[in-house]
């Protein structure tokens, strides 16, 4: 027995946990599987990365199964196989992510030069050498679109979320259902809807505001649902305290609930922005064209990074596709930055102090 002044932290023992000695044969067999894999590919007609990957799975999982069977019996062998399959499945999901990022960085770097961020495309076209022209008009256009779409969608989203969390009226279930249904609207449908409603039979042409309207439709469900989750996290005590002090519901919501959820609401907006920043399809119907910066939201076309990438891909030439990759790298950097900011704000969703 230790004395009162001398504490020792006692950790629970985990006898089932694999020790280092247990892991040695596991790794040894993996190495063996790799060696056999290499040898088999070398001597049989099976060739290529696919053969390496497939055979490595067969040998790796097979050897582990045999090991478990020897050690613990048939059921352990099946358990080991299931574990191998789960790990392989997860690996299959993550390989594309690595490939996507790697390709975007490697191919995108080719066309990046300092001028890429300060020039527009009025001095170049998609066949120009890569050290001419740039995406400043597309960056400004994308930011402009984001700002306008947020301006349109935020009030609607926030008010709907407040209805669902603060009023909890009779229609709550129905509204919730509609918001979820809205999140499934294909982006192309949002684009052609704005086109059919506002552009098809009028003399209006594609402009920033039209594209922002289409993007706002896609943004509303994301912002509403995240905002709703965040508002639900605000403790009921805060609301009751406000009401008990004699504040009206409006005062309570405006001065207590919404400020308490501020960080989470910012996260909601950022997630909504990340949802629309890379959308291409709606822009094809609503944005018009511009190769220069255009600050007029109602007249003249606009440019945007996804549209720039799309044009490069549609151009089809080697230079056009190189430009598309550079454009996507810039777009990806913006989306990743938003993602990181959302994470930082999202870690402390509700400020209760």
């Amino acid at each position: 027995m230790s004395t009162m002044t001398h504490h020792e932290t006692v950790y629970p023992k985990r006898p089932w946990k694999a020790t280092k000695a247990d892991l040695i044969p596991v790794f040894a067999l993996l190495v063996l599987a790799a060696v056999v894999d290499y040898a088999v590919v070398a001597v049989t007609p099976m060739k290529g990365k696919l053969a390496y990957a497939l055979l490595f799975f067969v040998f790796g999982a097979g050897f582990q199964m045999v090991l478990k069977w020897k050690q613990l019996g048939r059921r352990a062998a099946i358990d080991s196989l299931a574990g191998s399959v789960a790990i392989t499945g997860a690996a299959l999901a993550f390989i594309p992510v690595i490939s996507l990022l790697e390709t975007a960085i490697v191919k995108g770097m080719k066309g990046l030069y300092p001028g890429f961020f300060i020039h527009d495309m009025s001095v170049a076209n998609y066949q120009s050498p890569l050290n001419q022209g740039g995406v400043i008009q597309a960056i400004v256009g994308t930011l402009y679109l984001i700002a306008l779409a947020t301006l349109i969608s935020l009030p609607l989203s926030l008010l709907t979320a407040l209805y669902l969390t603060e009023i909890k009226g009779k229609a709550s279930g129905f509204i919730q259902f509609l918001v979820q249904a809205m999140s499934g609207i294909p982006s192309v449908v949002a684009g052609i809807f704005i086109y059919s409603a506002l552009l098809l039979t009028t003399s209006l042409r594609g402009s920033t505001i039209m594209a922002a309207l289409a993007l706002a439709i896609l943004m509303i469900p994301t912002v509403t649902r995240t905002a709703q989750e965040v508002l639900l996290l605000v403790p009921a005590d805060l609301r009751e305290a406000g009401l008990a002090l004699g504040a009206t519901q409006w005062k309570t919501v405006a001065t207590i609930v919404v400020p308490a959820a501020r960080n989470g609401l910012i996260t909601a907006v950022i997630l909504g922005v990340a949802r629309i920043a890379g959308e291409t399809a709606p822009l094809l119907f609503t944005l018009g064209v511009s190769n220069k910066i255009n600050f007029n939201p109602f007249f003249g076309g606009q440019s945007a990074l996804p549209y720039y990438v799309w044009s490069g891909l549609a151009d089809g030439t080697e230079l056009g596709i190189d430009r598309a990759w550079s454009g996507i790298l810039v777009l990806l950097m913006i989306v990743l930055a938003l993602f990181v900011v959302a994470r930082v704000f999202g870690t402390r969703k509700v400020k209760t102090k």
């Binding site: 696919l50 358990d79 196989l81 299931a82 574990g83 789960a86 790990i87 392989t88 499945g89 997860a90 299959l92 993550f94 594309p96 490939s99 975007a104 191919k107 009030p155 609607l156 008010l159 603060e166 009023i167 009226g169 509204i175 259902f177 509609l178 979820q180 249904a181 809205m182 999140s183 499934g184 609207i185 294909p186 982006s187 192309v188 449908v189 949002a190 052609i192 086109y195 059919s196 409603a197 098809l200 439709i217 509403t224 009206t248 519901q249 409006w250 990340a274 890379g278 959308e279 291409t280 399809a281 094809l284 891909l313 596709i321 598309a324 990759w325 996507i328 990806l332 989306v335 993602f339």
Partner: protein, 337 residues
């Protein structure tokens, strides 16, 4: 308290004390609250308004195409708008091939994407150590925020040659299966490739819904399974999978909703031809959303209206799938609590 008349030190007859009036208690809301609640009540219907406007406008604009082509608009395959010598336009619009094509590539996407997603969700819930789990969950979320044109460009440049190679291998060994055969050896830009691209795009949503469901598996049942001597796989098979099955189905349907409406990524990799094609490895196919993008630029007024009608069909399809999926998922999530 208010009554001080009996106090001996104060003579109520000498000093008239103002007695505060009793405060009226009322449950009548203040004007600010009335305004607040009315605003929220009205604004909450904005989603209904938007959905109705989308359906209404697309149906209204596309009505002519429905009327002119009848049921053939859904079942026929040719799509052409030819302007004759006399300046008169002869239109035949049928989106049968596109509907079949959309279903074919979405099915491929589900067949590949759902097993991978479920395995990933199982790995994240029951196998991965806490630290690795956190990183991988972030990566899955990140994957969801990649722009669809990135998937399209990547599919076109990086995946396309690989998928062509895989398609040739599959054809070589499994070509005797009817839908894996090809009329001619043309494997480029096939529904198979589009399906793989879509399968990667639906992984995040299917994985996160499945993971949420698996994460709610009741701990007592898990521990009961272990206490009865189940291995980890035994526990998953006997407890987690039956518990999560309906949630996984709902997640897969949400993935289907995404796959049905995907535009840019499919357009980038698929060779769009207006003929019904069941040979998934053969290099032509269709997809409603990318057909709209492909035809819209040069379409006449009439053809544009027909494309809006096609958009209406797509809207209804995705809306139905999503509504069913959301109902299934929310039931599964509720029953888990």
């Amino acid at each position: 308290m208010a009554d001080t008349g009996d106090d001996p030190r104060v003579s109520s007859t000498l000093i008239e004390r103002p007695v505060p009036e009793k405060r009226k208690l009322t449950t009548k809301p203040r004007p600010s609250d009335v305004a607040f609640r009315t605003t929220l009540n009205i604004m909450s219907y904005s989603s209904l308004l938007i959905l109705a406007a989308i359906g209404g406008f697309l149906a209204f604009r596309g009505f002519g195409a429905f009327k002119q082509n009848g049921i053939g608009f859904i079942t026929n395959s040719p799509w052409s708008a030819i302007v004759g010598d006399n300046g008169k336009e002869t239109d035949i619009f049928g989106m049968g091939a596109m509907i079949v094509g959309t279903l074919v590539i979405s099915t491929i996407a589900l067949l590949i994407g759902v097993p991978i997603s479920v395995l990933t969700a199982l790995f994240l819930t029951f196998y991965a150590p806490e630290r690795i789990k956190k990183i991988l969950v972030t990566v899955v979320d990140l994957m969801a925020s990649f722009p669809s044109i990135l998937y399209g460009l990547w599919g076109f440049i990086v995946l396309s040659p690989m998928a062509t190679y895989w398609a040739k291998l599959i054809y070589k060994y499994l070509g005797w299966i009817p839908f894996l055969s090809v009329p001619q050896p043309a494997f480029d830009r096939s529904p198979f490739l589009a399906g793989i691209v879509l399968s990667i795009m639906i992984i995040p949503i299917v994985t996160s819904v499945s993971r949420e469901i698996f994460g709610q598996t009741p701990l007592d049942r898990i521990q009961a399974a272990y206490a009865l001597g189940a291995t980890r796989w035994g526990m998953i098979r006997a407890v987690a999978l039956p518990f999560g099955a309906s949630g996984v189905v709902g997640g897969a349907m949400l993935g289907l909703g995404r796959a049905l409406g995907e535009t840019v990524a499919v357009y980038s990799v698929l060779n769009i031809v207006f003929k019904i094609n069941w040979h998934v490895l053969y290099g032509y196919g269709g997809n409603i959303a990318s057909m709209i993008v492909q035809k819209f630029g040069e379409a006449s007024f009439n053809e544009k209206k027909a494309l809006l009608a096609a958009g209406f069909v797509l809207f209804v399809m995705t809306l139905l799938v999503n509504m069913i999926a959301n109902t299934v998922v929310s039931r599964a999530v509720k029953s888990g609590k």
